[in-house]
């Protein structure tokens, strides 16, 4: 029983990490209508910020001049740093891209993720390159004697953080601010005509969304304890997108549910394939699994375009 529980806790920690990123994406797409196809890039930025700020000194390669590491800040500052760094990068990118047409924004952010990936691989003095960053302090690991207790504690912390993010987002999107975002999404010309500076709101939503993706990345790094550029592949963007679409964009509860359902589907279909499909056809099994995920996405768009939990008509929580 303890084993199952232990896996469940692990599973839910991952769900919570993804959920934070999905919430960030939902703010951008669901509420503001911005197409960010570079989610994994900001996730990676957060993870690396956490690693660099809190991690120990990394070994220096023979042909390397310097290595930024060993700053050793506490976890909380690492989290703040990760949020800050991803927000700052998002701000700069947002200034350039905030007015772009949707499909151009998509391809631009897609490219940003690739550039970030290239930097993580090649800028060894900062990111430790392909070697990856190891020994990132795992908060609560030393406080709690057994791994199980640590996991429980981390999950509790994740629930607290995810809950706080959810609460905060609910608070700001179900308020006049969120109402403007929705107006900008629906018709930016009309929003401007009633006196709203659409670009400012788009930029704010983009930055906050990316900061949350960074936060998710930082929590991932602090939980796993080591990261490498190959942890952050473009498929992750796709996973997070699928979570949001399936859960229901424009609804924060949908984002949480989507993270749970899609990650559950993703992993349980793997377990299922390993049990059901004969070893000989395991390769096919893997492909079938990914095809299924693709079909779930397309099917959701075709048959349930609003996702599992659709958007609510009322925005502001203050309105009766």
């Amino acid at each position: 029983m303890i084993g199952e529980l232990s896996y469940l806790i692990f599973f839910l920690i991952f769900v919570s990490i993804f959920a934070i990123a999905v919430l960030g994406l939902n703010l951008q797409w669901g509420f503001t209508g911005q197409f960010n196809a570079g989610v994994v890039g900001f996730f990676a930025v957060g993870a690396y910020a956490m690693a660099i700020l809190t991690g120990p000194t990394q070994p220096r390669l023979p042909d390397q001049a310097f290595q930024v590491s060993g700053i050793g800040l506490p976890f909380a500052l690492g989290l703040l740093g990760a949020i800050g760094v991803s927000a700052a990068i998002a701000y700069v990118i947002g200034l350039v891209t905030v007015r772009l047409r949707h499909d151009y924004l998509a391809i631009t952010t897609f490219g940003i993720a690739i550039v970030i990936h290239l930097v993580t691989i090649n800028f060894e003095s900062l990111t430790a390159g392909t070697l990856g960053f190891v020994g990132i302090p795992r908060p609560l690991a030393s406080t709690f004697a057994t791994p199980f207790a640590h996991n429980v504690a981390y999950l509790a912390m994740m629930f607290a953080i995810t809950g706080a993010v959810f609460w905060g987002l609910e608070r700001i999107v179900r308020s006049p601010w969120g109402r403007v975002l929705k107006a900008v999404r629906e018709d930016d010309v009309a929003a401007i005509a009633v006196g709203k500076n659409a670009d400012r709101y788009r930029l704010e939503a983009f930055v906050i969304g990316c900061a949350l993706m960074g936060l998710a990345g930082a929590l991932y790094a602090a939980y796993i304890g080591s990261i490498s550029p190959f942890d952050f592949l473009p498929i992750m963007t796709f996973q997070i997108w699928t979570m949001m679409i399936v859960g229901g964009s424009g609804n924060n509860r949908g984002a949480l549910l989507g993270a749970l359902v899609v990650w559950g589907l993703w992993t349980s279909s793997g377990a299922l394939v390993s049990q059901v499909v004969p070893a000989k056809f395991q390769a096919q099994g893997g492909a079938i699994q990914v095809i299924l995920i693709g079909l779930v996405l397309v099917g959701t768009l075709l048959f349930r375009p609003r996702g599992l939990i659709g958007e609510e008509p009322k925005v502001s929580r203050y309105v009766d």
Partner: protein, 252 residues
């Protein structure tokens, strides 16, 4: 109130607004008429800052506003409606209206996040205000419906309700009567007159001549980008330039 001085706006080879000088006196309902393509809506767009002017200046109470962004001009009490209504379709009627209130503290996300009391108070105030405006516009029965479910005429009223939230000094209405059934049109005209009595200045682009002639004093006429006449309805109706503009100027 509003003065437009030598304003021109060019699109490619087309001079959509050509050296227009026009003054709107406070507390009037100024009509702006003219055949299709005369440049009326373009002039509106330049006044509210949706389009930059090529030449000329625009002042409100003597203060220059050309070059300001739309949201800033809105803040100065100048609000416009659209010829084809542009409600936010997936939002309720009430929130469509509440959205339009300028300078809400809750529009800064940190206020929404940290200053619960303030935002709640403002929102309650805002809601009361919005409800009042909706009642005024006769939309109280659809308060909680999604805007996309409204009829065309109701959407026009919603547009009006929305701009009223700014407590504007001046409202620019772009074809308020288009697509509105006669009964609703009566209501609309009533509301405009009532607001006018309350001290709001109007500038109205309209093709429904009965409406224009009955409520607009003075009337300005544009044709091919130029202001060709200005005056009260009788002057306008008999002005040969206006008749030519409407009925054609090829000698027949």
């Amino acid at each position: 109130m509003l003065s437009v001085e030598h304003v021109s706006k060019q699109f490619g080879s087309l001079r959509a607004v050509d050296d227009v000088t026009l003054t709107v006196k406070a507390n009037t309902i100024t009509g702006l008429i003219g055949p299709n393509g005369a440049g009326k809506t373009t002039l509106f767009n330049t006044i509210v800052g949706s389009l930059p002017v090529d030449q000329g200046t625009i002042r409100v109470h003597g203060e220059r506003i050309d070059g300001l962004t739309t949201d800033r001009i809105y803040g100065k009490g100048l609000a416009r409606t659209f010829q084809i209504p542009r409600p936010f379709p997936e939002m309720t009627v009430l929130e469509n209206v509440m959205l339009a209130r300028p300078h809400q503290s809750g529009e800064r996300f940190w206020n929404s996040l940290f200053r619960y009391g303030l935002v709640r108070r403002e929102e309650q105030e805002n809601q009361n205000l919005a409800q009042g405006v909706l009642n005024f516009c006769g939309l109280e029965r659809v308060t909680n419906d999604l805007a996309k479910t409204l009829s065309g005429g109701q959407q026009k009223l919603l547009e009006l309700a929305r701009v009223l939230m700014a407590k504007p000094a001046m409202i620019l209405l772009d074809e308020p009567a288009a697509g509105v059934n006669p009964a609703l049109l009566e209501t609309l005209i009533e509301k405009i007159l009532e607001l006018h009595r309350g001290g709001i200045t109007f500038m109205i682009i309209e093709h429904n001549m009965d409406m224009v002639m009955s409520i607009c004093r003075p009337i300005a006429v544009m044709a091919q980008g130029r202001l060709i006449a200005e005056g009260d309805p009788d002057t306008i109706r008999t002005d040969p330039r206006v008749v030519d503009a409407y009925l054609g100027n090829i000698p027949g």
